[in-house]
Symmetry: C2
Subunit: 162 residues, 2 copies
């Protein structure tokens, strides 16, 4: 068997075994953690995480409200799904769509009293899950390291020089 320990130009795009392993672990861990969070919410009779995400963003601009596309940007949801997610939130009385003066096609979404209540009701459950799943198993250093790595992954250009 031939060992190739030097870097070969035509292999540049192949991930190392370590990289591959890290990816697989990231995939699995996120999958498991997310499932646990969703399970915790459901166990408490609460709606899924995506609802919280939207409510949280809306609560940050409770008076002025947000355009749908703004929510989409913050929550990383495409407009098709968002449109219907807001339908559901609205039909549950958690948010309210209002016509937008400045832009006749769009609308402004505002969170309602009930929406704020639900958000506050979800937070403790969510918070406890985060603490159990991230805060407790990891050291403070690891938490910092995790945040830093995820930041790099989200903005690859701030990463290592090539």
């Amino acid at each position: 068997m031939q060992l190739v320990s030097f870097s070969m130009p035509f292999m540049e795009n192949v991930p190392s075994k370590q990289t591959e392993a890290a990816w697989v672990l990231l995939l699995r861990a996120q999958q498991v953690l997310l499932a646990r969070v969703e399970a915790a919410l459901k166990e408490s009779g609460l709606p899924p995480l995506s609802w919280y995400d939207v409510l949280l963003e809306l609560s940050r601009d409770a008076e002025s409200g947000l355009r749908q596309y703004e929510i989409g940007e913050r929550v990383l949801l495409n407009k098709h799904n968002l449109s219907r997610l807001i339908d559901r939130l609205e039909s549950d009385g958690l948010v309210k769509r209002e016509a937008c003066d400045l832009d006749g096609r769009g609308n402004v979404v505002k969170i309602s009293k009930k929406g704020l209540q639900l958000k506050q009701q979800m937070w403790p459950v969510y918070a406890q899950a985060i603490q159990e799943l991230i805060g407790e198993p990891l050291t403070v250093t690891q938490v910092r390291s995790l945040a830093s790595i995820m930041n790099t992954l989200l903005e690859p250009h701030t990463g290592k020089s090539e």
Copy 2:
């Protein structure tokens, strides 16, 4: 404003700001990365990642095949969805269900020639995406750190002592 810098018993379940931030970043990063991988596959006219996952596991036991529940364990997919995922794979001729001698209710799933081909066709696209998304932006140390942290998250009991 009152600053609380010492640990208070009744607040144990609340994540620190850092923990919360790390979780949000993890959520977002994984979401973005996964979407990019799926997009890369689709761009090349290839099926979604979940197909690769299953084909990969099956290729590891190509001759003997795997029971469905075994696949489910490895790929972290519940049986409901798995059953239908295998339906799709089978109707595309990528895998084949065979009656199981040892257990009359179950069946053994084996990968086909065509399945192996597809798997090999998907790998370069997948591999390049992993390299671009993980390998390139991160240093070797970060990759190792990422793997270690994800491992800890998957098996909380091997984490820090409390």
